[in-house]
Symmetry: C2
Subunit: 129 residues, 2 copies
């Protein structure tokens, strides 16, 4: 196993955030000052090929790296914040409806996060009051 991959995997698996390569690089530098951004990318790509981590792509931001454990994502349509949500597994429903064999799926749900809802209510209140 490569020099950094265990630490990088651990970072991803223990982080509550969805880290970018840059963030992982900065975090790694604390313990491995010599590490270079390209090595972070190399490791992330290897870990992803080995099926040990997930990549999360969202429009307009760099890729984020995530634990493998099955879960879905909420994306706030106003501020873009990404959070996890644990829904039931839709695999069998998809397979029944489509007849295909599902290897995995990626479900991103657009919603308004509580902060944005609050902010929008405040704005409305100020306009009308």
């Amino acid at each position: 196993m490569s020099r950094y991959s265990k630490k990088i995997l651990n970072l991803i698996n223990t982080s509550c955030e969805h880290l970018t390569a840059e963030q992982i690089y900065l975090e790694m530098k604390k313990e491995e000052p010599g590490i270079v951004l390209a090595s972070v990318y190399n490791n992330l790509n290897r870990l992803h090929e080995e099926g040990l981590i997930r990549k999360v792509v969202i429009e307009g931001s760099p890729e984020r790296y995530d634990k493998m454990l099955k879960h879905d994502h909420l994306v706030c349509s106003r501020c873009g914040k990404l959070t996890d949500i644990h829904l039931s597994d839709f695999t069998s429903q998809i397979e029944e409806q489509s007849g295909i064999k599902v290897l995995s799926y990626d479900l991103k749900i657009n919603y308004l996060c509580p902060e944005c809802i609050r902010q929008m209510e405040n704005i409305r209140r100020n306009e009308n009051g």
Copy 2:
């Protein structure tokens, strides 16, 4: 409405493919030889903000622009090909399970497309025969 937006919207709405900005640009040039790639991007971003088209982001390829009409996506895990699939709407299930208000969602299903399944079977046959 802007000079090109109607044609671009039409291209997207009538295409069976999931076009990239580059492909839309090349297609537009046939009728509008003076058009420039930046204008295609401007128009696509405007159409997207207006909610008239969808953006589809897949790891490792440029963004693709898609009709708004609700549908889901199949992504072949071997060759990466993207195709449409029409599944039932999971919105109410998601809302019941989570308690959030779903604005929309984006479901990408990883599978093996028929061509890849065939190719893999051929490879296996050659190895064993």
